[in-house]
Each structure stands twice: as structure tokens, then as C-alpha cells.
């Protein structure tokens, strides 16, 4: 038995057929163990992991005082947050101030039930799972706005304004970049998307899929407000942005929600483009199909433990990528942020839908997929469109700079 995948056992137990006679028992197990136990636990150790990774990137050691390797640090932090005094500013709008962090947290939690962690391990499988996922994750923008507005603090309000502008702008490329997947699957169900990738290989292994994955990753980082897109909470400019006035466990809720949504968007990227729990080389789908058709508990566990392990490994890599980007890149300027979304990402994702349709014609429509021809036609198209869009963007930026006042030009050339 694998330590890394032990946490998923209750999920597997919940699928047991003997429990089907009491439908609500499955929900209690899923809710109590997975949603209140495991996911917050993952978040706690993600924070620890980020501090360790960031420490190494900055030539430090990171947390190492509480427990071996600082492993008890998240627990100490949680106790600190819970025992701290909960201060609400007198002029704040009490109810909205209370509601805002809850809204963000609920939105982060609601994303997770549709993720297919393994075979039959999506807590629910609605036929429009992908749209549902995008819809509930868009609620968090509202929570952030309410948090900033209800605090009655100019820094909070500034952070909220930046957050809303950023989240609304980057939601467009986020949605557009998963259109190729919907096109190739012919369904919005997350489980159907997983099955399709078991059959045809990961979606990232195609030129339009690769471009879509990169676009989705950038949009994901922007959606969860992490560096280089952390303008809404830019510490050096507006204190802490929309959660400046939150303290104690209410701040803890923001913290939990932020890392939970990092986990959620990593799961989204993994499930949609990286083939879920399957391995990259061909024929790994076979044992999944064969063993999964058995109904026994043993075959379920045998199939699902490696699936979940590989899934979590991929999610871990994706999260590490986000930490890596965070430690490497500086924050964007506001104008760069907006023009990048609307002038680079949106056009590219629109073009990519058409290239994805070509890939569909070569690979998915004919009975026998013609990967070679597909690559030959779509790869140059993707390359050309990326180069054209980026060069137009650069030329425009240059023209903007030339037309701008001298003071700004001096700042720009000094960098």
C-alpha cells in the first residue's frame, strides 16, 4: 500500500456497492472525510511545501523549527489563526464582511466534486461538469469584490477593483482554452473527457492541445491571483488588497480558499489536458478498462490506487510549476496585465479553436486516427499564429510607448 495514496481510501470505500442501499451514507463519507478532512489537509501541506520551495529558491531553508523538517508548522499556523482575535472594522458592513470569505471558500470547494480522481471517483458526474466547474469558480470574483467593498478601506477597495478587472478578463481565455477539449470529446462531462483521453492519449499531445494547455495554465494562475498576477493583493503597493481588514480565522478562510483554488485549478489542468491518472505512454488505458469493468471492491481498489497516485503526482508537479513561476517572475503592471489578456490570450484561444477543429478532422473523425498528418498540418499553424499574435502585440506596445509622454518612456527604458 502506498502512503501517498492512502488518503483516498475513504473515497474508494464510499464507492462500495454494499453502501449503495443507503445513498446518503456515501455522501456523509465523502463530505466528512474528503471535504472536511483531506482537502484542508492537502492545503495545509501545500502551504508548507510552498514555503519550503520558496525558501530554496531564495537560498533559505524555510520552516524547520516545528517538528521534523518543520512538518508541524501548518498545524501551529492553524492554531495561531484560530486563537487570534477576530477584528471587524466599525464602519465595515458587518454581514457582507462575514459573507465574503465564506463565498470564496464555498466557490473553491464546489469546484472539487466534479474532478474525476480515479475510476468512478468523481463525487458527482453531471453531464455539463466542465461548464459547472467554470461557473462555480467564477463566483469567487464576487466574494473578493464584496470583501474589498465591505471593509471600507481604500486599499481593500483598490484591491477589489483590480481583482474584478483581472478575474473577468482572464476568465475569457480560461473558458476559450478548454473549448478544444469539449470539441474533441463531444461532451461536457469530466468523466467523458477522462475516458476520451484513456482512448486517444492525453489531449496535451497535440499542437492545439499544447497551446490550449499553456493558455489555460496562464489563465489559471491569473484566476487564483498568484504572482506574476497578484496585483489584487500586491503587498508592496496596497498592503494586502481585498483582505487587508481581515484578521484571525476570517483571514484564515481567505488563505484556505486561495490554496484550495490553487489545488482545484491544478486538478482541472490535470483532468482536462494531462489525462487524469493515466500514464503518458500508450496501452496504459488497457488495464484501466479491463480491471475497471470488474465490479468487485478489490479490482476497484487495485485500479484506483495507482490512478489516484499518478493523478496526485501530476497535480503536485502542476502546483510546483505555479510555485516556480511565483518565485521567478516579478509582478506585472496593470496595463500589461489587461493588454496581455485581451490582445494575446483571447485572439490566440479563438484561433486555437479553429486549429483544434482541424485536429478533430484528422484524428477523431476518421475511424483510424491519423496523428502524423494531424501534426504536419496543425503544428505549423499553431507556431505561425503564436508568432504573428506575439509580434503584433510587441509592435503595438512599441508604438504605444513611442506615443506616450517622455516620463513614462524614461521609466520603461530604464528597466
Amino acid at each position: 500500500m502506498n502512503v501517498a495514496t492512502d488518503w483516498a481510501l475513504p473515497l474508494v470505500w464510499a464507492q462500495q456497492s454494499e453502501l449503495d442501499s443507503i445513498p446518503w451514507l456515501k455522501w456523509i463519507i465523502v463530505l466528512a472525510v474528503v471535504f472536511f478532512g483531506i482537502f484542508p489537509g492537502i492545503v495545509a501541506y501545500m502551504v508548507w511545501g510552498e514555503r519550503k520551495v520558496a525558501g530554496r529558491f531564495q537560498d533559505r531553508i524555510g520552516p524547520n523549527r516545528v517538528g521534523p523538517f518543520g512538518l508541524l508548522q501548518p498545524i501551529a499556523d492553524a492554531i495561531k489563526l484560530i486563537t487570534k482575535e477576530d477584528i471587524v472594522p466599525r464602519t465595515a458592513d458587518q454581514w457582507v464582511h462575514l459573507l465574503a470569505p465564506v463565498m470564496i471558500l464555498v466557490s473553491a470547494f464546489l469546484v472539487l466534486p466534479v474532478i474525476p480522481f480515479g475510476l468512478g471517483l468523481a463525487a458527482v458526474n453531471p453531464p455539463s461538469g466542465l461548464i459547472y466547474l467554470i461557473a462555480v469558480s467564477s463566483i469567487s470574483a464576487l466574494g473578493i469584490f464584496l470583501a474589498g467593498w465591505s471593509s471600507r478601506n481604500k486599499y481593500s477597495l483598490l484591491g477589489a477593483m483590480r481583482a474584478v478587472a483581472q478575474l473577468v478578463s482572464y476568465e475569457v481565455p480560461q473558458v476559450m482554452s478548454v473549448i478544444p477539449v469539449i470539441l474533441w470529446t463531444g461532451s461536457l462531462s469530466m468523466v467523458a473527457i477522462f475516458d476520451r483521453q484513456v482512448e486517444y492519449g492525453w489531449f496535451i499531445f497535440s499542437p492545439p492541445g499544447l497551446l490550449a494547455f499553456i493558455l489555460l495554465t496562464i489563465a489559471n494562475i491569473a484566476e487564483v491571483n498568484r504572482t506574476p498576477f497578484d496585483l489584487p493583493e500586491a503587498e508592496s503597493e496596497i498592503i494586502a488588497g481585498y483582505h487587508t481588514e481581515y484578521s484571525g480565522m476570517r483571514f484564515g478562510l481567505f488563505f484556505l480558499a486561495e490554496y484550495l483554488s490553487v489545488f482545484a485549478v491544478s486538478c482541472l489542468g490535470t483532468a482536462v489536458f494531462l489525462g487524469g491518472g493515466t500514464l503518458p505512454w500508450p496501452f496504459t488505458g488497457e488495464p484501466v478498462v479491463t480491471l475497471g469493468s470488474g465490479q468487485g471492491l478489490l479490482s476497484l481498489i487495485l485500479v484506483n490506487l495507482p490512478l489516484i497516485g499518478i493523478f496526485m503526482a501530476k497535480v503536485g508537479l502542476y502546483v510546483f510549476l505555479m510555485f516556480w513561476i511565483r518565485c521567478t517572475l516579478p509582478r506585472l503592471r496593470v496595463d500589461q496585465l489587461m493588454s496581455f489578456a485581451w490582445k494575446v490570450m483571447v485572439p490566440l484561444s479563438i484561433i486555437n479553436v479553429f486549429i483544434a477543429a482541424l485536429w478533430y478532422e484528422f484524428v477523431f473523425r476518421p475511424g483510424r486516427p491519423n496523428y502524423l498528418l494531424g501534426w504536419g498540418v496543425t503544428a505549423p499553424l499553431v507556431l505561425i499564429s503564436v508568432i504573428v499574435v506575439l509580434s503584433i502585440y510587441k509592435a503595438q506596445m512599441k508604438a504605444d510607448l513611442a506615443a506616450s509622454p517622455t516620463s513614462r518612456r524614461r521609466i520603461a527604458t530604464a528597466n
Binding site: 459573507l99 453531464p127 455539463s128 461548464i131 459547472y132 467564477s138 463566483i139 467593498w149 477593483m161 473577468v168
Partner: protein
């Protein structure tokens, strides 16, 4: 069970709608509106249209409500006073308009004749169960429930292509109009004297503009 759920959701929906109209604080009113949108999405789920429910949340809560809030944030007076209280004349005319709309809707729905070969709405007292019984439901019905995104997309691009495209043109026109209103023309200049003049104009304009928030 369905009846009880419908009753609860409908009651909450009406309360949220009332809250939207009666709240004295614009942000609270917008929040009630968000709750109302959410309850409409719940109603769609009750009608087996969970694709529509997801789109409702995505479009109305994720986009429309956010833009609305953004607009409210930039208005000068969020609480009370002339922005949220209605004058008597406004109350009467608004009430008349609302009653007229209600009358049009009620008579329109009650006089519905139904498409050829089908009964009108007023004659339908039952609707299919939440999970269509396989034996009774036609293949088309089952598909419409199980893969609604597919069915909606196909209908939009075949039978409803013209309305769909017209709506798209309309939205594009609105977008262009909004940009035309928002963009101030006149190139930025390098001439210091002219820039100083512009800055002075700007500050003068800012002084006449009302303050951002009240509280």
C-alpha cells in the same frame, strides 16, 4: 419532495426579488439580485436543465452581477438618499408598468396555443420525472437530458441560427458603443505646455465631479 423543494426555492426567490427592490443599500440590493439569479439556477436544475443552470450561474453571477457591482462601486452614493428612494410619481408609473408587464405575461402564458400537434402550456399539468423512466422516455428526450450542451448547441446553430446571430450582432454593437463612449480621443502629446494645460483641465473636471463614496 419535488413540490416541497419547488415551494422552498420559489419562496426564497420571491423574497430575494423583494429584497432587491426594497434594499436601501445598492450593494445589498445587488447581493439580493445575485441570490435571485442563483435561485433561478436552482429552478433550472429542478426542471432537469442543469446545463442551463450552469450557464445561468456563469453568465449572470460570474459576469453580469460582477459588472453590475463594478458599476455600483463607481457611483457616488451607495446608501439611501436620492439613488435608492423613489419619488411618488416614479412609484406610481413604475407600479403601472410592472402591473402591465405582469398582465402581458399572465395572459400570454394562459392563452398559449402550443405548437402544432402539441398541447399548450396551460393544458400541461404534469411534467416528466427528474430522471426520465427509460421505458417511457424517447431516445431524443433521454439525450436532451443527458447531454444537454450538445442538444442546445445543435439547436442554436440550426433552427435558431438567425436569432443567435442577431443577438451576437446586437451585443457587438453594444460593445462598440460602450467603447466609443469610454474612449476619449485626442493623442497624448509630448509638448510640456499642452500637457500642463490638459492636466489643469483634468483637475478642474475632477473637482466638479462628485466624491466617490459617501460613508
Amino acid at each position: 419532495m419535488n413540490q416541497i423543494l419547488f415551494g422552498v426555492i420559489a419562496t426564497l426567490g420571491v423574497l430575494a426579488a423583494l429584497g432587491t427592490v426594497l434594499a436601501r443599500n445598492l450593494v445589498h440590493a445587488a447581493l439580493f439580485l445575485v441570490a435571485f439569479f442563483f435561485l433561478v439556477a436552482c429552478q433550472f436544475v429542478m426542471l432537469e436543465a442543469e446545463f442551463l443552470a450552469a450557464v445561468q450561474v456563469l453568465v449572470y453571477i460570474g459576469a453580469v452581477a460582477i459588472i453590475l457591482m463594478f458599476g455600483i462601486m463607481l457611483t457616488r452614493n451607495i446608501q439611501g438618499d436620492d439613488t435608492t428612494t423613489v419619488s411618488k410619481a416614479g412609484f406610481i408609473s413604475g407600479g403601472l408598468a410592472a402591473a402591465g408587464l405582469l398582465a402581458v405575461l399572465v395572459f400570454g402564458i394562459l392563452d398559449d396555443e402550443g405548437r402544432t400537434g402539441r398541447a399548450g402550456w396551460r393544458d400541461v399539468t404534469t411534467r416528466p420525472a427528474v430522471y426520465p423512466v427509460a421505458a417511457r422516455a424517447s431516445a431524443e428526450q433521454t439525450k436532451a437530458v443527458n447531454n444537454m450542451g450538445f442538444v442546445v448547441g445543435r439547436e442554436l446553430l440550426t433552427r435558431y441560427l438567425i436569432p443567435f446571430e442577431v443577438a451576437g450582432v446586437l451585443l457587438t454593437a453594444a460593445l462598440v458603443g460602450a467603447i466609443a463612449l469610454a474612449v476619449q480621443d485626442g493623442p497624448s502629446t509630448d509638448d510640456p505646455a499642452e500637457r500642463a494645460k490638459k492636466a489643469a483641465e483634468h483637475t478642474a473636471a475632477a473637482e466638479t465631479e462628485p466624491q466617490l463614496t459617501s460613508a
